[in-house]
């Protein structure tokens, strides 16, 4: 997927901007506070319908305005699509090819931007629901049926929790059965995803850092089971405790994921630099997986890429970018030393491109 052109109106510090991008590497440089991150934030929003920085829409408006507009031409497998998003006090409106588009879930399954930002180090230190949310999105893009099962699971969980709160223990088993069946579909797909990702992750991490350790993403299911029947039985075993607490205690809604360098776990033992470089490797590995299985090329965004990375890693990454077929956006305070002919560079000064 490629974003051909972008128009911003009253978005963050951009009063009005019209810009065209190259299909390969796009390098945005400039001093701090000029609007580099704001621009890639708009690109990520156009693809993912959410900001990687904030959940508060008001923060996305130009200071004196009360609405923002983003318009883009996106090229998706040789088809050009016009996307427009209007954010205002009345909420968000999405327009696809000049018609209003309501199905958010369908939208985010057809467009994808993978972003790597300084805030990302929090992903593996923060609460598990952030990780589930992130990987749910990725696995849904890989497998649309995963998304449908996830929607079902969420509905079943809400019904089951209502049954627990009302102490409706007569119908509890029926809900446990459908929960286990749908949950098992999720568990299998999550495990398969971590498995498929492994070889890409090892390769990218070695290539980027030259370090000998093996980087892996490990899926930690909340319940260890080998089929839906076993999962159901294990949930049933918790019946008394669940009735006491009033909500579902076990199941894939409690799953987690962690990164490991050999046997060292991210949360407690990764340095800031290691969290950054492993996160970066994860995003690129996901990109490789999307490409190798489904020939998908998400837009890649690397915000403030070179801060906290040593020069050697940075050099290796640039070499890697040259091999990728994705459209890539990099923001940096420094001008690129030399770029190949396929790449573009832009200088950002106070919400303007020069």
């Amino acid at each position: 997927m490629v974003i051909r052109s972008l128009e911003l109106h009253q978005f963050r510090n951009y009063r009005q901007l019209q810009v065209e991008f190259g299909p390969g590497l796009n390098w945005l440089h400039g001093h701090n506070g000029q609007g580099k991150t704001n621009l890639v934030e708009a690109i990520a929003y156009l693809c993912n319908l959410e900001s990687f920085r904030t959940r508060k829409t008001q923060q996305l408006w130009y200071s004196e305005a009360n609405a923002a507009r983003m318009t883009a031409l996106l090229e998706q497998q040789q088809v050009l699509r016009r996307v427009q998003i209007i954010l205002s006090t009345r909420g968000r409106q999405v327009w696809l090819d000049h018609a209003p588009f309501q199905r958010t879930s369908e939208y985010v399954l057809s467009f994808l931007a993978l972003s790597f930002t300084p805030e990302d180090v929090a992903l593996f230190r923060g609460p598990p629901q952030d990780r589930r949310r992130f990987f749910n999105r990725i696995i849904s893009n890989l497998d649309p049926s995963y998304f449908r099962h996830l929607q079902d699971y969420t509905k079943i969980l809400a019904e089951k929790n209502a049954a627990l709160r009302q102490r409706q223990d007569r119908q509890l088993s029926a809900w446990n059965q459908v929960l286990a069946r749908t949950g098992w579909e999720l568990i299998q797909r999550r495990a398969a995803f971590a498995e498929q990702l492994l070889s890409h992750l090892v390769e990218i991490f070695r290539m980027a850092t030259g370090r000998p350790e093996q980087l892996s993403l490990r899926y930690h299911p909340a319940v260890q089971c080998s089929d839906a029947e076993q999962l159901e039985k294990m949930i049933e075993d918790q019946r008394d405790r669940e009735l006491q607490s009033g909500y579902a205690l076990i199941g894939p809604h409690r799953d987690d994921y962690h990164l490991f360098l050999d046997e060292k776990i991210d949360r407690d033992f990764f340095s800031q630099g290691e969290l950054r470089v492993t996160n970066l490797s994860l995003k690129i590995a996901i990109n490789q997986l999307l490409f190798s299985h489904y020939s998908l090329h998400p837009i890649l965004i690397f915000d403030d890429l070179f801060s906290e990375l040593d020069a050697q890693v940075s050099q290796r990454l640039l070499g890697l970018f040259a091999q990728l077929q994705n459209q890539i956006f990099v923001t940096s305070t420094t001008r690129p030393e030399k770029l190949d002919t396929k790449s573009c560079s832009f200088q950002v000064v106070q919400g303007q491109f020069v």
Partner: protein, 200 residues
């Protein structure tokens, strides 16, 4: 100019119906205004009659204007084959297919603790009584393929397993005359896992 009060009231009443929005309700209301007084009275009478005459069958809880519905009373039909559905309109849908020769049992809903619907809010006790009294050879669970419908089917299976020798669930898969193009991923997956040999 505002709509006269009685016209406004009629269109608001009509817009409460399923599938009827504000605009359609107004169109219908204007349509009724064009009726002769006799035509309008006929419509009102039809509405009054349907509420007065249609009630739930005392055996299967489907809609009928008799005490017992024409399916339950029909001795040509297999009274030992019972198809369980969620809503009365499901009975008419299955009847249209003309392949089914058994009888029905309408639950009048599906389990949903979120909406306060438990086993006691559904016609499950009467189904149990029916099975205990008359018995059956097979129970076909034809609840909707939604999470609530699936949970209800699972519930019935475990509650009634001792009362009937065979409990089955309707198959899921591709629609007849449809195009693969329009089938969603989950239905396709189910059609794949439920595939059959050529001669089956």
């Amino acid at each position: 100019m505002q709509y006269p009060e009685s016209l406004d009231r009629l269109s608001r009443e009509l817009s409460r119906l399923p599938g009827i929005g504000k605009k359609t309700a107004l169109r219908l209301a204007f349509g009724i205004l064009r009726y002769t007084p006799e035509e309008a009275a006929n419509l009102a009478e039809a509405i009054r009659q349907v509420k007065e005459r249609i009630h739930h069958c005392n055996i299967c809880h489907g809609f009928t204007d008799l005490g017992t519905c024409s399916v339950c009373i029909n001795q040509m039909r297999n009274q030992r084959l019972i198809c369980v559905v969620e809503q009365p309109n499901n009975v008419f849908q299955i009847e249209r297919s003309r392949v089914y020769q058994g009888v029905y049992h309408v639950l009048l809903g599906a389990l949903s603790p979120l909406e306060g619907i438990g086993p006691d809010q559904l016609q499950i006790r009467s189904l149990r009584k029916r099975l205990e009294k008359d018995g059956a050879d097979e129970l076909i669970l034809a609840t909707n393929p939604t999470v609530q419908g699936e949970a209800t089917a699972g519930f019935l299976q475990s509650e009634l397993v001792d009362l009937v020798p065979q409990i089955t669930r309707l198959a899921r898969g591709l629609p007849a005359g449809g195009d693969l193009e329009y089938v969603d991923e989950i239905t396709l997956q189910e059609a794949f896992s439920g595939r059959r040999g050529w001669h089956d």
